[in-house]
């Protein structure tokens, strides 16, 4: 992205920008497949050892059948090109741990994590930006000090600790929220449309299912978002402080505009650029850093899938996760860059 004092974005300019970014994205993804493939092959260990039992490992015929089934009996370079060929045809291979197509696994886990992360980021932005503005407006006052401490706690408390404490308090002690999982035990998930239980239950008109899914979402989304709240709060406070004493803000106040209007129209707009940047980065890290929250809240998402794939040296699954995370980062960065031109028309996308 380049920032210049330039004109508004034209459709042709936007098209060129998107095409260029798409091309870069494709190159990046292939680069990531190579890195992930090399890394999973240089780490010590053997997929057969990780996936077969002790007795099965003692039978060469079973080990041979395993290696053959997953293409591990071919030279490494050939394995990589076979993988690329299949990837070009939309085939991510079969997971050695789940015995299912990696694409099938990912279509189940990615929406679960997305649903969690989207709720978490919405919570983080609303709370983080709101509190950040309050802290900036009340700079130096006790409330500012309190919010800075809160922000510091948010970014410094270990996620697993917050997750366990919140579970203990809100489920075990108070009984306000349900235990882990995406739905209550025994409930059959809504027929898949998006993979988001909240949205799918609404689309199917299953109100009780929607409420159930939402109740299960609150605690993990809160825990996952609490770290990001701290980050967004700090960035918002700094961004607002940077512009709040500018001449044009004083002019706006002198015109008799209400403080809320001044903040909304004249302070927040320029301050949103750095906030958009940090929110984009935070969303990416939320998606790829959910493993603790997913484990504690039995939220079967991509974090847990990545973890089990790694410890089982499940090459097709590791590759699949790497590609998905790369795509997510590329898309989120693209959206953040696009948001710059929306938030500040002077910015040209090239």
């Amino acid at each position: 992205m380049n920032r210049t004092r330039a004109r508004r974005v034209t459709p042709a300019g936007l098209g060129r920008f998107l095409a260029r970014r798409l091309g870069i994205g494709v190159v990046l993804i292939f680069g990531i497949t190579l890195v992930a493939f090399v890394l999973t092959h240089v780490v010590p260990g053997d997929p057969a050892t990780a996936n077969l039992g002790q007795r099965a490992l003692g039978d060469p015929a079973i080990v041979k059948a395993f290696d053959h089934e997953y293409g591990l009996d071919k030279p490494v370079v050939e394995q990589y090109f076979i993988y690329l060929w299949k990837l070009l045809h939309g085939n991510l291979g079969v997971s050695e741990q789940s015995h299912r197509a990696v694409l099938t696994d990912l279509s189940q886990y990615v929406p679960a994590t997305f649903e969690l992360a989207i709720f978490a980021i919405i919570f983080s932005i609303i709370v983080g930006v709101g509190l950040g503005v309050v802290a900036a407006i009340r700079r130096g006052k006790p409330i500012d000090a309190g919010l800075r401490i809160f922000s510091l706690l948010g970014v410094s408390m270990p996620t697993f600790w917050v997750a366990l404490f919140a579970f203990y308090l809100f489920f075990f002690r108070l009984g306000w929220l349900p235990s882990g999982g995406r739905l209550s035990p025994g409930l059959t998930p809504p027929t898949k449309i998006t993979g988001f239980y909240t949205i799918d239950s609404l689309l199917h008109g299953q109100g009780s299912m929607f409420v159930n899914a939402l109740e299960h979402l609150i605690l993990p989304a809160f825990v996952l978002g609490i770290f990001t709240v701290g980050t967004v709060l700090r960035f918002t406070r700094a961004a607002v402080l940077e512009v709040i004493n500018n001449d044009y803000v004083r002019t706006a106040r002198a015109k008799g505009l209400s403080e809320w209007t001044v903040i909304r129209r004249h302070v927040m707009r320029p301050a949103l650029l750095p906030i958009a940047t940090v929110a984009g980065l935070a969303f990416g890290s939320l998606l790829s850093g959910t493993v603790f929250v997913e484990q504690i809240y039995s939220w079967q998402g991509i974090g847990e899938y990545a973890y089990t794939s790694a410890i089982n040296l499940d090459l097709p699954a590791i590759m699949g996760v790497s590609i998905v995370v790369a795509i997510i980062y590329i898309i989120v960065n693209l959206l953040v860059d696009l948001s710059y031109s929306v938030l500040d028309p002077r910015i040209e996308l090239r």
Binding site: P44, G45, D46, T49, A50, L52, G53, Q54, R55, A56, G58, D59, I62, A65, H68, E69, Q97, S98, H99, R100, Q108, Y109, L164, F167, Y168, F171, F172, G175, L177, P178, S179, G180, G181, R182, S184, P185, G186, L187, T188, S201, L202, L203, G205, Q206, G207, S208, M209, F210, V211, N212, E215, Q295, I296, Y297, S298, Q300, E304, Y305, I311, L313
Partner: protein, 530 residues
């Protein structure tokens, strides 16, 4: 601008309408509470899943055994956690002939699959041959067995060498009997090339085709498995109409779930976590998992570990009671490699005794001074809650007192397994979980066999013990258990292995659960719960 605003408002109203409309259909039942079963009782179990598949032909993981034990009948089974004797299941009786080279099983004519069709010998032969030919993890269970039908209700299994442990292998849910016609119609085959031609696994992960008390309603290797009572079950009806097995990765969460009564059973608490719990029933007992050490007998790997005096010094230098304290209530010292819960195990009187003076004398006799030992073990894993890292630290402390200079070498499981399997570890700390609950499973510790070779112990170095192992394997009848005991005494006296302890297994349930018992094979027996 107005048009945009109007469009946005319309979209907002549409979404709001959708939400309000859907919520409006919320019934009076609280959404956060467990859904009520249409009839009967629902049982919810928390377990940290080790689950790959529900297909018995491929299944060889603890959670899979729990599931398949409820879905599929086997020829014989175990009752109430007693692994020293088998009881009838599909077979009302069996005969052992020709010095255990031939077994004849007589099927119960009342047995029928969940679709109401009878279980025949053809189904048994097909299911067992399929499991072998799939060349998966459980295939070794029946390797070398020829399985044939002799009429619709008789199955004959023959082998070239005596296999007296066969009745104890067959309760493994991997040998569960499938409805041949149904599974074959969905891609199943028992042909020799089943490992490449059989495509029934995916179907069997969505459906079941067995004769057990439950049928599969839904299956996920990561979230939950739901079983419902089999309406055509030929035995006593199960106590629960629905069983929900939930994947809960954190024991602390399981503890809170069962304490609050949200879920009925927690399967993954370790002995330290069940202390202080009230209002629940806690069942502790020794698991069949044996923690052991070995000192490599191959002098090319280590002249220290292969020294018999050093091996004796280590055996006397371990404070077994200290390890039991670490493993918690329910753990026991393992007098031999065969766990005390299986037939053929040694009595507690045969336990190795901690004797620091003797240990120091044996070390002095070796003439090695204060030799350096590097103890390799898999890090970051636990067995029934016992951390290998903690156990290794205790071993280091005990052997340092003897006069060794111990260095710990923790490695990831995959890395440690590599050196362990290659037989290049000088000193190792490992555990053996049973493949099946029979003493013959522990012949792998004999010289020249699977684990023996990992400890550098070849049949050439100990030909007499290797021969003894062969004879024990073929021993049948009432002297069989005694033969295995003698074999273990020989292992303890002359082998490179130091059996340490059996870890404790713990199951915690709410007060209302009847017949709750930890089960070393399938975690908890859904058939017996009331």
């Amino acid at each position: 601008m107005k048009k945009q605003a109007a469009g946005g408002l319309a979209a907002l109203l549409s979404v709001s309408g959708l939400v309000v409309g859907a919520i409006g259909s919320v019934t009076a039942s609280s959404a956060s509470t467990r859904p009520k079963a249409t009839s009967g009782r629902t049982l919810v179990i928390d377990n940290s899943f080790e689950l790959v598949t529900a297909d018995p032909g491929h299944m060889f993981e603890p959670t899979g055994e729990l599931v398949d034990n409820a879905l599929y009948d086997t020829l014989v089974t175990f009752q109430g956690g007693n692994f020293k004797a088998v009881v009838p299941d599909l077979a009302t009786s069996y005969q052992s002939l020709d010095n255990a080279k031939k077994f004849i099983f007589h099927l119960n004519p009342k047995a029928k699959f969940s679709d109401g069709t009878p279980v025949t010998s053809a189904d048994v032969v097909w299911s067992l041959n399929r499991m072998v030919n799939l060349k998966g993890n459980p295939s070794f269970l029946l390797a070398g067995e020829t399985i044939t039908a002799d009429g619709p209700e008789t199955v004959v299994m023959t082998s070239k060498t005596p296999n007296p442990g066969l009745p104890f292998i067959l309760p493994n849910p991997a040998t569960g009997i499938l409805n041949e016609k149904v599974v074959a119609a969905h891609g199943g085959t028992d042909a020799a090339n089943a490992s490449t031609k059989d495509t029934a696994e995916n179907w069997l992960n969505d459906n079941s085709a067995g004769s057990g008390p439950y049928i599969l309603k839904s299956f996920s290797t990561t979230s939950q498995v739901v079983l419902t009572a089999n309406p055509n079950y030929w035995g006593p009806a199960p106590a629960y109409s629905t069983v929900v097995l939930r994947n809960t990765a954190t024991a602390a969460i399981e503890k809170l779930d069962v304490q609050r009564g949200t879920n009925e059973i927690a399967l993954d608490l370790d002995p330290s976590e069940d202390t202080g719990m009230s209002g629940v029933q806690i069942k502790n007992g020794p698991s069949p998992n044996v923690l052991f050490m070995f000192a490599n007998d191959n002098p090319k790997i280590s002249t220290i570990s292969s020294n018999p005096d050093v091996q004796k010094a280590i055996r006397y230098g371990i404070d077994y009671s200290g390890l039991l304290t670490l493993a918690g209530k329910g753990s026991v010292q393992s007098p031999g490699v065969i766990p005390t819960v299986f037939a053929g195990s040694l009595p507690a009187s045969a336990d190795a005794k901690y004797d620091l003076t003797q240990a120091q004398q044996w070390l002095a006799k070796s003439g090695l001074g204060h030799p350096k030992l590097t103890l390799t073990y898999p890090t970051a894993i636990t067995v029934n809650g016992l951390s290998f890292d903690d156990a290794a630290a205790r071993v280091e402390q005990y052997l340092d007192q003897v006069g060794f200079d111990v260095t710990l070498q923790p490695q990831s499981v995959e890395v440690a397994l590599g050196t362990y399997r290659a037989g290049t570890e000088a000193f190792g700390l490992w555990y053996w979980g049973p493949d099946y609950p029979d003493a013959s499973d522990y012949l792998v510790f004999a010289p020249g066999n699977l684990v023996g070779l990992r400890a550098g112990w070849t049949s050439l170095e100990a030909p007499a013990i290797a021969t003894q192992a062969q004879k024990v394997a073929e021993t049948t009848g009432p002297t069989r258990d005694a033969a295995y005991q003698t074999f273990q005494r020989t292992l303890n006296a002359e082998g490179p292995f130091i059996p340490l302890i059996q870890t404790a297994e713990v199951v915690v349930g709410t007060k209302g659960i009847k017949n709750l018992q930890a089960n070393g094979l399938w975690l908890v027996d859904l058939r017996n719960l009331g």
